[in-house]
Symmetry: C2
Subunit: 342 residues, 2 copies
């Protein structure tokens, strides 16, 4: 089958079979108008016959394009793949990339500490034409360096100035609506499980929580705001601790659905009724949210859509389109189900 000693058909092989030069093959396959139509057909036939597929590495080197974009998630594989958010995000991204014949290079960090490697590995050695970066820590200097170097980037999350392309949610409003809903239901002691506060997303959701209290003129017991690691386990244990310490609360606004689910599990096991005794609201609206009993009230965020928009935006930038808005803000929606009562 193969034409050269190396095991694969190259442009040279096609050229030889078609009786033309490699340059002509390249131009013919690229539909360059300079090459005669008859010659083009000849080349096409030869290429088909040899089942020629261009070597992307060679092409990339010359054209300085890789037809690949990288998704950098400055976090461990375990964290990334435990959270349904990322699966949905990937679904959206890959869908767009498949349509446009782009490849996806996926990069997570081995160690939580050195976020650097994820960046360096993909970027400085030019394996991708552009990058989507999933919200990094506020103190991540690598990201800034990356942007400064002029590398095409789409950032998932809010960014302080208007210099970079972002796809973000209105987390403040989302968290506000959840908390406000609980307050309107008459809940007064609302626990909030937040995520690591060195990420903007968790600051914003906490902000929304505070804003709702403020607007309803309810003061917050700071003891009820607890930083957790976003896992089901964290929610499960978090509630256990509250109950063990006999800290009174009548509602829980979890920073994400996983923690909400863990929390509900603990409450169920302790015989505490949701929503009768404790109202629970989550954030994300993962597929499973409506499968639990009670079904989980939560703030819906368009996870897949985020991926789609981010990928489209990046491809737009790579294709030199000028009409791309820097900032895309997606709205959230409170999905009222059973876990909050009312």
């Amino acid at each position: 089958m193969m034409s050269n000693g190396n095991g694969h058909t190259t442009m040279k092989d096609v050229a030889r079979l078609a009786g033309v030069s490699p340059a002509t093959v390249s131009l013919a396959l690229g539909n360059d108008p300079r090459v005669n139509i008859k010659t083009r057909e000849l080349v096409r036939e030869a290429a088909d016959k040899l089942r020629y597929i261009p070597n992307e590495i060679g092409r990339s080197l010359r054209s300085q394009k890789t037809e690949t974009i990288a998704l950098i998630i400055p976090n461990t594989s375990h964290h990334v793949f435990s959270h349904p958010y990322f699966a949905k995000l990937l679904e959206g991204i890959t869908e767009v990339l498949n349509e446009n014949e782009y490849n996806l290079l996926l990069s997570t960090t081995a160690e939580e500490s050195d976020e650097q490697s994820a960046y360096e590995k993909v970027l400085r050695n030019r394996r991708a034409d552009g990058v989507i970066v999933s919200s990094a820590s506020l103190y991540d200097r690598n990201f800034l360096r990356l942007v400064d170097s002029g590398f095409p980037v789409v950032y998932l999350g809010p960014w302080s100035n208007n210099d970079i392309y972002t796809v973000e949610r209105d987390d403040v409003t989302g968290a506000f609506s959840a908390t406000n809903h609980l307050l309107k239901l008459g809940r007064r002691k609302i626990v909030h499980f937040t995520g690591p506060l060195n990420h903007q997303v968790w600051r914003d959701r906490l902000e929304g929580y505070r804003l709702a209290h403020q607007q309803n003129q309810i003061s917050i017991n700071e003891e009820l705001v607890i930083e957790k690691d976003l896992s089901v386990q964290a929610g499960y244990e978090g509630v256990a601790e509250l109950l063990d310490r006999q800290i009174p609360f009548d509602a829980l606004f979890a920073g994400n659905d996983l923690m909400a689910i863990g929390a509900m599990k603990q409450l169920l096991e302790r015989g505490i009724k949701v929503p009768e005794q404790i109202s629970v609201v989550g954030f994300d609206d993962i597929d499973m949210a409506s499968m639990f009993h009670p079904t989980l009230t939560t703030v819906h965020q368009p996870m897949k859509q985020t991926g789609i928009l981010a990928a489209q935006k990046l491809l737009g930038v790579l294709n030199g389109r000028e009409d791309i808005e820097k900032k895309t803000v997606l709205q959230t929606k409170l999905m009222i189900r059973e876990s909050c009562g009312g």
Copy 2:
């Protein structure tokens, strides 16, 4: 910062600064003993100063290695990322790849029909050194062609002969243990939601289901074996149809946990008690399985471990190791929880 007009530091730049030839730079950075120690230090300093990182594309072209492996999943993005199995698989794979400084190229198919594109895109154009293929349809000829071409492949699933590297589960035994457990509990009319039967995995699980009946000398009502699409929705609707058609059954063995969860939801909504009236058993043991009420009895399969082993196996093959076993069979384990009673 950058040294040439192109925006990036190349080997030439380092050579110029160090006052040596590019060849020497290459050898020096590769720790070749031919180059004088003092020269090597000189080159190192120059490289550091310019923050030189080799261009992988150039390196790949010459060395015919990409330091990248591809994961091919002949299915749509939607299917892939809706199933927790793939997330866990990815977790295992990326963990190993990160440790070994390999990159991951992820390939799904745009259209369910043309499985071909997923293969062609990654393989014939040599963007990866090797591939992990997630169980393909039994009729997928692309996979065979791929193997024939000598491309390093690890296949996830059983394969008829011993020619190719596989990581597989003992699905028959797993399904047997689940079904057998239900039979031992006295259940006699066990519904089985299976997946597409053109994939070996679903044939095997069905086989296990049959075997258990056979061994317990119970005959199967073929009406209870129903082919579904593996989604939560499918389980939900599948049960609805059975109930609406008033087909009697006292247990359900779902081919995967998602369908089991959907089924339990439907039963709950109809006021049918699990496990008192109907016993439910799933397959996979996804994280959520123990979060439901009742907690889901299911057949545990080591999803992450599958990814780890597959990646290690492929890297082993790529490194020319000879001691790698062709076939790795992982065992499953029945996790008895609440949903089956007893």
